[in-house]
């Protein structure tokens, strides 16, 4: 943790610095294409994309709808396989993995956060957070203790038995983030995580992501809001299935929050 924190701090002080040079690539895409067939038309959702994302990075993926950003996210989330090319996550090429192996990868390496939270109805927060552990191999024994810890981490330690209907939007998203964190993932993958939240709550959620990133988790956020993307250290812009912009710099926002935590 110290070394990761040191790297992050170093990158913040002497920004812009390419994180790839300081840490091994956690995600490596080379010549990835994704082609959908719709009737007799073929849609090239991703067109020969190559990309590396380093461990500990904080990336925002941007682009208009239809730009290929969601397709990229689905591939990084191991929910789908590329049509051609190679995509390695944590050193393993998902193109060659079975659907069970992909499920285990999603379970242990990736934490998902969604725009609509996707909490289970009529289920208390603690059980929401436990859910991924039920599918873990091997399954840990201390399910509840872990879930408690994660809920405390996102500031909901006193609301473990609340149902989604008893929580505000921001609180629901915090439960979803605790759920994403429960299995100690290397990647936190968030799809428009603030799309259903007001500005103030959005900012709080993004600060939480900044804190988690400062602790070493690689955070990837898909968004079309530049305000939200400003929290990230690296910005990838997609258009027509290609990356048209890849900027790295010190994050404009949340740096203080992250720094406070690290120091």
């Amino acid at each position: 943790m110290n070394s990761v924190a040191a790297i992050i701090e170093a990158s913040q002080v002497s920004a812009p610095v390419a994180p790839q040079s300081a840490a091994p690539a956690l995600i490596r895409a080379s010549g990835v294409s994704k082609i959908y067939r719709m009737g007799d038309q073929t849609v090239r959702a991703l067109d020969d994309v190559s990309l590396e994302i380093a461990k500990g990075d904080f990336v925002a993926i941007m682009g208009a709808s239809g730009s290929g950003k969601s397709t990229m996210m689905n591939l990084i989330g191991a929910l789908d396989r590329p049509t051609t090319g190679h995509l390695a996550i944590d050193g393993r090429d998902i193109a060659t993995m079975s659907s069970d192996e992909l499920a285990d990868l999603r379970n242990g390496t990736i934490g998902f956060v969604f725009q609509q939270f996707n909490l289970l109805p009529r289920t208390p927060a603690l059980n929401q957070v436990i859910l991924p552990l039920l599918y873990a191999h091997p399954r840990p024994d201390d399910l509840e203790a872990r879930a408690h810890h994660r809920l405390e981490q996102v500031g909901l330690g006193k609301r473990t038995d609340h149902l989604p209907s008893q929580l505000s939007g921001g609180q629901q998203q915090r439960v979803a983030i605790a759920r994403a964190l429960i299995n100690n993932p290397k990647i936190l993958l968030a799809d428009e995580p603030t799309g259903a939240l007001d500005t103030k709550t959005s900012e709080e959620i993004m600060k939480l992501f900044g804190e988690l990133n400062a602790e070493g988790i690689t955070v990837i956020i898909v968004t079309h809001e530049p305000d939200i993307a400003d929290f990230a250290r690296r910005k990838l812009v997609f258009r027509d299935g290609k990356i048209i912009d890849d900027t790295e710099r010190a994050p404009l926002k949340a740096a203080t929050a992250a720094k406070d935590r690290v120091l």
Binding site: S99, A103, N107
Partner: protein, 411 residues
């Protein structure tokens, strides 16, 4: 994912749609309940018939006079033709192979009086072999002896019901009672026998020697001097009853001088066989009816499948989420299978409770024998679970085959 997790999820899902879950299981409830009622009532009837067959006595043929075949439109009823006589008894004993016991039974009825107690019962004149032929031992006192028959002794053996009516708790052996006004000595009491196939209480009887019955009790005018009523013949275990039946028929046709081609004026029957045939018809009916309730299970199963498909559609997003957080396809498959089986087992349990209850009501109200066997209950539960697996499979497969991306995107 453990089975317990799957059960907990299934329970939550079913409870959140309680009314729908209950309505869905109605088909299963009705199917299971009707299987239990039909099989219980059916096997109760079969057990009853088997008991009656056993009470007839085993390896036995019955001979009675008259024709019941009704050919040519004329049938005067059994017993109106030339009666079976002592000569026939002797001839059958001597000439038919395998006979170990033979006894007539000449029936009448009349009042039996012990002191102030009066009871009208069946009076049966019998031979000393009667107890052996009918597998109906004398429980207390003694049986008739050949001497009793020769001397037309005024002795009587009472059935259980007659004893209860005449003596209550007293010891009847040695007592003198009046049978049709004449004094008779009670020499024995029969073991209990139960109801006959026709529902008559066989224990309501007073047995007296054949000769006494013929000369005295039944009424001289109606009785040919050596008739024996109907004739029960018991054979040893190695005798083929079909063979024996043919031998008796041939013998009696000779003795009665019946022309070839003419009808018999007597009947030789294997009552146990007749009853067995009736039991088989009964079982066939039971299983046919049970089969129709299987149709109800199938219809119920289709209902389950329908509602599970609805459930899969409604919960597509939830399935997408589960896949995203690491559920394998077989986890999803198992979750929905467990849900369908749980639904069916709950229906099965309710159906068993209703079925057993209804069978008990039938047993009480209609006085119909009912046998509720654990095997039938186990079978009904297995059928319910099987229905869940068969009809839950397709929806579960559909759920587990969902594309996680599309599932997450669905509304």
């Amino acid at each position: 994912m453990t089975l317990f997790d799957s059960l907990a999820i299934a329970w939550t899902a079913l409870r959140s749609n309680l009314l729908r879950s209950i309505l869905t299981t109605l088909g299963i409830i009705i199917g299971v309940a009707s299987v239990i009622i039909l099989v219980s009532v059916g096997s109760g009837a079969r057990v009853e018939v088997e008991k009656q067959i056993a009470s007839l006595g085993s390896n036995m043929l019955v001979v009675f006079s008259g024709s019941s075949r009704g050919m040519g439109g004329r049938s005067a009823g059994a017993g109106t033709d030339l009666p079976i006589a002592e000569g026939d008894v002797a001839a059958i004993r001597d000439k038919v192979q395998g006979v170990i016991a033979i006894s007539g039974q000449l029936n009448g009825s009349g009042p039996v009086v012990n002191g102030n107690t009066n009871w009208t019962t069946t009076l049966s004149g019998v031979h000393p072999d009667f107890a052996t032929v009918r597998d109906w031992p004398v429980r207390a006192g003694r049986d008739f002896t050949p001497q009793d028959i020769r001397a037309s002794a005024k002795v009587v053996i009472l059935g259980q019901t007659a004893v209860k009516q005449l003596f209550q708790d007293e010891d009847p052996i040695g007592a003198t009672i009046r049978v049709k006004s004449a004094p008779f000595q009670v020499i024995g009491v029969l073991a209990p026998k139960g109801q006959s196939a026709m529902g008559r209480d066989q224990d309501d009887v007073a047995l007296i020697p054949m000769t006494t019955a013929r000369g005295y009790i039944v009424g001289k005018s109606q009785v040919q001097s050596d008739q024996v009523g109907q004739l029960y013949i018991k054979f040893d275990n190695s005798t083929d009853l079909k063979d024996a039946q043919e031998q008796i028929e041939t013998l009696l046709r000779q003795r009665r001088r019946i022309q070839p081609g003419a009808e018999d004026n007597f009947n030789v029957r294997n009552l146990a066989e007749t009853m067995k045939a009736r039991t088989e018809v009964l079982s066939t009916m039971t299983y046919l009816l049970a089969a129709t309730s299987v149709i109800s299970l199938i219809v119920g199963g289709i209902g389950i499948m329908n509602i599970m498909l609805v459930s899969v559609t409604e919960r597509t997003r939830e399935i997408g989420l589960r896949l995203a957080v690491g559920a394998r396809q077989r986890d999803i498959m198992r979750q929905f299978l467990v849900e369908a089986v749980t639904l069916c087992l709950i229906g099965g349990l309710i159906g068993i409770a209703l079925g057993v209850g209804a069978a008990a009501i039938v047993a009480n109200a209609a006085d119909w024998p009912v046998v509720i066997s654990p095997a039938v209950i186990a079978l009904a539960m297995a059928a319910a679970a099987g229905t869940g697996i068969v009809f839950g499979y397709f929806p579960a497969r559909r759920a587990s085959g969902l594309n996680p991306i599309e599932a997450l995107r669905s509304e």
